[in-house]
Structures are given as C-alpha cells and as structure tokens.
Symmetry: C2
Subunit: 215 residues, 2 copies
DNA sequence: TCGGCACTACACTGTGCAGTGTACTTCTCG
DNA sequence: CGAGAAGTACACTGCACAGTGTAGTGCCGA
C-alpha cells in the first residue's frame, strides 16, 4: 500500500499522494462527481499543486489510469514449454490475465475510466490496443504449440480470441459491469477449466483418453 | 423513420419528439454533455414541456433506454425444432441476438447508458437481468435438445454462458467499446460459425469422431 | 363557441465546479 | 546559510446547467 512514498523528492511524494487520492476518489465517486478540490483535500495538498503536477482533470484521470496499467503490466507472462501439459499452460494464461480481477482498485477504476473514455474513441482505441497486447502472447504461444504439433489451429488469431472470449465473457465483463459478484477462486477455476476443456476439445492434438488432467 | 408521429394526441406527438431528440442527443454528445435545453430545442419543444413529460434528466434517459429496449425486444425468438440441424438453430440464436448490433442507434445509446448506469449498481443489475432474459432461451433450448439426445450437456447454464461469451466476446464488446468496426455480415457469420463449431465439437452428440461418452 | 389542458417564452435561482493569479511560506540542496 | 524550487492559502472568474415559477397562448373536444 504505502510503499511508494518513501525516500523520494518532496515533489514526488506529493505527486504520488495526488495519484493515490485521485484513484480512490474517482473509483468511489465517479469521474464527474469528483471535484478537483476534493482530490486536493484528500491528498492533503493544495489544489494549486494538483494543477502544477497535472494539466487538468482529464489528464489526471489519464495519469491515474496509466499508473495502474503499468503497475499491473508487471505481472507474469507465459511462455511455451513443450514439457508442460497444454491445459496447465492455458490455465496459467487465464489466471495471469484474471489476476487483475482480484485487484478491486483496478476494477473500480476501469469501470470509471470506461465510462469516461467511452466518449473519446481515439483514446479508447489506443489504450485498448495496449491492454490487448497481452492477448497476443497467446497467439505466439499457439504458434509455438502448433509448430510442435500439439495443437491444430489454422486461424490462431481467432482461436486466441475465442479463448479470451470464453474467459472474459464469464468472468470479466459481468464483474466490470457489476452484474455478478467477483467470483470465488473455486468458481473462477471452474470457469477456466470449462473454457480450457472446450478449447482443447477442438484444438488440442494430444488428447490421450478422458484426459481431464486433474492438476 | 417517422412512423410513430402519426394520428396521435398533440401530447403524444410532443412526447415522441422529445424521445427522438433525446435519443440522438444522448447518443451523439453523451449524457453529461447534453443539456436539457439542447434536447428541448432539438425536439422543437419548450424546455418546460420536457419537464412536464419526464421527471428529470435521468428519468428521461431511462425512458429513452426503455423505449428502444422495447423496440428491440420485438425480435424473433428461437424454439427447439428436432428436425433442424443443431448448427442452423444455434446460428439463428446468434443472428437474432446480434441483430441489435446492426442498429447503430442502439449501440450508440447503449454505450452512453452503460457509462451512466455504471454508477448505479441497482439499475444496472435490474436492466441487465432483463436484457439477459434472452440468454435463458438458449438454456431452455439446450434442455430440449438434451432431452432429445442431440447434445450432451450437464451444466446447461455454463454451456449457454460459454456460447454467448464466444459470440459477444468477438462481436459485441469490441463494437460497443469502439475497439473494432462493426463487422460485415461475412465476418459476422464467420465468427458465428467458428463459435458454433467450437461449441458443437464439445457438446454436440451427433458428431461422429471424438466421442467422449463417459457418463 | 367555450372551457380547460397542454404548450410556450422567459426569466431566474442556485449550485457546483474547473481553472487561474498571487502573495506568502516551507523545503531542499549546494 | 541562502537562493530558488515547490507548495500553500484563498480569493475570484466564468461558466454551464438542472430545475422552477409564471403569465400568457394555442389547441382540441364537447
């Protein structure tokens, strides 16, 4: 939590405080309903300082968003490992991506940011591209697995999209939109396993028997 | 286009005009950026009249949303037909649901409404429930198909969720969020076919090859 | 033709907020 | 210590807009 406010310039400390304050304010109150005065107060900083650090309200939201995006980007990635069962590797993919879901700060913030960016098609597109960069990792993985003869996929893009659709459609969007409670780890794994089963039934090339590989 | 402004009370005509104006205004400008004055002007109606017909801004958005929801709800549904191939029936499901995507008024409006409702968890839940009512139709369909021995599905809810996740994940969310252009009919059908293929490979019982009887 | 309902024009309140300008204080670092 | 960068307090501009009150006008049905 308070691990980023140590041993820095006064300026950097202030900046961090503002970002933290803005994060919770935006998340809890929404964008429009959060005033810059409130953020300043919450950060224990003068309003002027907020404006000295960030161009304006919109820029501040952008900075907050970037900040957390970067924070989350430092999550593990998955590489092709010939020796490991396909299901296990796919599970790792899914878990890594869904790790963001367990970060309530992020989900709340994303909700708000989505609402705001929705009216900024350019921003959306740009940010979405960066966020879906990780989706591409699965494409590479599929290429490797395909070369190794472990999956039979002609259209890797589509297969990857399908996999993510299965995962996100059940676990991500419903949570983002508040239609569903965040899943328990057990539920989450059940969905992931279901998705992997569906996926490998079609694309997997190694099916031994009733290989519902219990790991 | 102008098919709902005929032969009605003056009051009803005005009301319709307001709804129409609000629709385009909200869709084009977003919720916050649209003033009631602007809607009134656009509808060729005095601001006071707007307030006489609708409680306030939020209520107006609600009414607009309801209006179009009702308009779209008058779309075809799909029933279990033993004689028809599974794939064809599923395709009908998918097409019916995606018909809304071809209504640009609706997508634009949904975008805005999502942004607003995002801060109203109760409203979201209620509306989402109504909107996902149609998902349930697939569950019933699966029950019938299962009883007829044409599919082997234990968890129908999950299977239905997976199907919709496949469809929406590739065609719905990306369009709503403006990450992707609306698909051409050809692209749309390609995705649908891909989803159906994946789905039936696992759940279809009329498939010759990879039989996983197990039960 | 007349009564009343719906609509209009418009002024007006009240608020909330983004963003700025400035004189003053505090911190930090050489 | 001393200078300058950064922060503070606060007053203030300007605006946009939701929502209301009212006095008058047009419309529609009986």
């Amino acid at each position: 939590m308070a691990d980023e406010s140590e041993g820095e310039t006064r300026s950097e400390r202030k900046r961090a405080a503002i970002l933290r304050a803005a994060t919770t304010a935006f998340r809890d109150e929404g964008y429009e309903s959060t005033s810059m005065d409130r953020i300043a107060a919450l950060a224990g900083v003068s309003k002027r300082t907020v404006y000295n650090h960030f161009g304006g309200k919109e820029a501040l939201l952008g900075a907050v968003f970037e900040h957390h995006l970067a924070r989350l980007a430092s999550r593990a990635r998955v590489d092709w490992e010939p020796a490991r069962p396909l299901a296990a590797q796919l599970r790792a993919f899914a878990r890594a991506k869904l790790a963001t879901l367990e970060d309530p700060v992020w989900t709340g913030l994303l909700r708000v940011a989505l609402g705001v960016f929705m009216h900024h098609p350019d921003l959306v597109r740009e940010t979405a591209l960066r966020a879906s960069r990780s989706d591409d990792a699965l494409v590479s993985w599929l290429r490797a697995a395909s070369a190794a003869g472990r999956v039979r996929v002609d259209d890797r893009e589509r297969a990857a999209a399908q996999f993510w659709a299965l995962i996100k459609g059940e676990l991500f969007w419903p949570v983002i939109f508040g239609v569903r409670e965040p899943p328990t780890p057990a539920q989450r794994d059940a969905v992931i396993d279901g998705a992997i089963e569906l996926f490998l039934e079609r694309y997997g090339a190694e099916r031994p028997a009733t290989g519902r590989g219990a790991s």
